[in-house]
Amino acid sequence: MKICKAVVALGLLAGLLLASTAQAQQFNWQQFKGTQLRVLLNKHPWQAAIEPHLKDFETLTGIKLITEVYPEDQFRAKVLVELTSGASSIDVFMTMPAQEGLKYMRADWYQPVDEFLKDPSLTAPDYNWNDFLDKTREAMVIEGKLIGPPVQVENVSLMYRKDVFQKYGVKVPTTLDEMEAAAKALNGKPMTDDGQPGFGIVNRGKRAAATSMFAGMLYAMGGSWLTPDREPAINSEEAIKAIDMWGRLLRLYGPPGSENNHWYEASSIFSQGKAAMYTDANSLWPVIEDAQKSKVIGKVGYALFPRGPKGQYGSTVAVWGLGMPKTAKNQKAAWLFMQWATNKDQVFKVQTEKGVLGCRDAVWKDPKGKAKVPADLAESLAQGSKVGTPFWNPPVVAVAEVRDAVGAAIVTSIQGGDVKAAANKAAADMKRIMAETEKK
């Protein structure tokens, strides 16, 4: 105990010293006063939550913001076209590194921000980069370079009917085997007031759409998309087991026609009370708890994606973040904006006001910070984002094409086809696609 106290005392002293030095060289937010930043935002809960606060940034820094907001499809197209032209005037844009990161990095469109982050004249002493949940930081690094801070995170996680599990005395699964056993035990049991039988589990099964959630099972099984030397690993023993299980669960204990289910269909089956379990992004919780449409409000538990045979975690860590193009004219001012938008105060505000799933540990530890979301969701999200994998997408340039190739194998598995052959074909396709699109 004495040692503890001593450590605390030392810590306090160090803190005081740091605080005084920080006060001595007060961080200069006004250093780029008078510049203008063009910020492109995707229509998204984070954008909706941060927009009312943007004028605070303008007051603090004297930098003028010109923001443009587009719906997701148009937003992606707009950014792509502007960056392709090579004459973009964008200073900051929202980016999803696992989706477009490698393509943009190989095209040399991102301005890495490592140098800005290290520079004490550009980064406020209280920014505390290490406060971001471990894997959300990792998710913003592409080929060793940090492209910006994350603004929102989601994981593939297990959503389950607390009432159904309790009624039939089934243990909430923490491993893949337990999940299969639970699906088997609960399939066909009545789950709604009208006594109609429900399904054991519902998941996405639509070709490319399924892959981002299947990633959870792939990593829990101990598999991965690529080997360390970037060869396709989708036909490894572990990956084949994962593809087989994803399909088997849906074939035996899921709704018929899963092959065409995207999250809209899957989440609606679950929120109508017709399935006991659903593994998808935990950011879907507002859909599951929708007061107007859902029949399972308050009955759903949120847990980590079940762990694999060797205890591997399957949580995927999918982040939206901020990035700046190489062509940005005011890069240092842009970094100030990125930093301000993701400092603890702003993250706290967007999370407490609008329930945005932020990436800062300190905010998740704060009781006020997690008040807007279900308690078990807050807990599983913070944990999953520390231990999961940022590779919810294959880390390749041609993401969409590779997702289709892997998705085809998943569909084959749902239909009870030859999984091994399908996985081998997916691997061969991946190899060809990568060779075509990643010429050095």
């Binding site: 960056l83 040399d108 070709r207 709704p255 026609g257 092959e259 065409n260 017709k274 094409e401 699109t437």
Partner: protein, 307 residues
């Protein structure tokens, strides 16, 4: 006003060069706006597509299009399984959908051509599907085809069949989509056939009646042969449309399950706008164009009776 009027050109005299030119070549001058628009929006893109089809271009600013001759076509025909699958599905869908539509459409037209009460009303009702928005239709059918909640399984259940997985079943998905297309477009064939029926001469029927022909004989020997050119026109329209059907397929299955309903058009869309292989997508479009052209030429020949 004064400054403005000063900058105006002097009133044209018929002797000035321009006016003379317009007077002499009115056709050339007055059609030129339309010609320019057609050239920019239609002729140029077609040739540019053909030009791009000879290139390899993975869209991004760092790699410029690279000329590779006919390699894209070679790849499509010799290596690309998804392409072969897509061509087969396109033809399968087209034959199935147009066959159903022509049979039903002509039958409906014959029915509606008889005098009965409320004829106009029923005609209008039968033509309604054609005016609905394809995407909305697709979404409604998607609900009807839902294996657990949809009405289709209930309906086939009444006659002791099913339940089917419909658009989630690899074998049923194309027929199921063809049914949707048939539901929407049969009225077009009915409409065209009705117009054809209205122009048929009465004399052959009169002489047939005098010769004691049965109604069936009159249909097979007189009505159908006389209607042939009309039906061929309808068939031509529908087969061209079916070959390039995109909306209902993309909305309902996006080519799934797996690739079981990925027609050439859906595949090309995927290759061009999701995978960004612009050159290869262009060559697929050229092939689709050739396919549509080929089918049209055959049908036109058949219509003229030269085959």
């Amino acid at each position: 006003m004064t400054t403005n009027s000063r900058s105006l050109p002097p009133p044209a005299r018929s002797s000035s060069g321009w006016a003379l030119f317009i007077e002499r070549h009115p056709v050339l001058v007055f059609t030129s706006p339309a010609t320019v628009v057609v050239f920019i929006l239609m002729v140029f893109p077609v040739f540019y597509t053909v030009y791009m089809s000879l290139h390899s271009w993975f869209a991004s600013s760092v790699t410029a299009p690279e000329f590779i001759g006919l390699a894209n076509f070679k790849r499509a025909f010799t290596q690309d399984e998804r392409f072969r699958n897509a061509v087969w599905l396109t033809l399968y869908f087209t034959v199935l959908a147009t066959a159903m539509q022509v049979v039903l459409g002509v039958a409906l037209a014959l029915l509606l051509n008889r005098p009965f009460r409320g004829k106009g009303f029923f005609r209008s009702i039968f033509l309604l599907p054609m005016v609905a928005t394809p995407v909305a239709i697709a979404l409604v059918w998607m609900m009807m085809y839902n294996p657990t909640l949809g009405v289709m399984n209930y309906l086939v259940g009444l006659v002791g069949l099913g339940p089917f997985k419909w658009v989630s079943d690899v074998r049923l998905v194309i027929p199921a989509l063809a049914v949707v297309d048939t539901w929407e477009w049969t009225p077009l064939i009915t409409l065209i056939t009705l117009a054809g029926l209205a122009t048929l001469p009465l004399e052959p029927y009169e002489s047939a009646l005098i010769d004691g022909a049965t109604p069936a004989q009159m249909f097979w020997r007189i009505t159908l042969p006389l209607l042939r050119p009309t039906i061929m026109v309808a068939l031509l329209f529908r087969s061209i449309d079916c070959l390039k059907t995109f909306d209902i397929i993309y909305v309902m299955t996006a080519g799934g399950p797996g690739f079981a309903s990925e027609t050439l058009n859906v595949y090309t869309f995927q290759v061009g706008l999701f995978y960004f292989h612009i050159g290869y997508a262009c060559s697929l479009l050229v092939i689709l164009f050739a396919l549509v052209l080929g089918v049209s030429l055959v049908l036109i020949k058949v219509r003229r009776g030269s085959w």
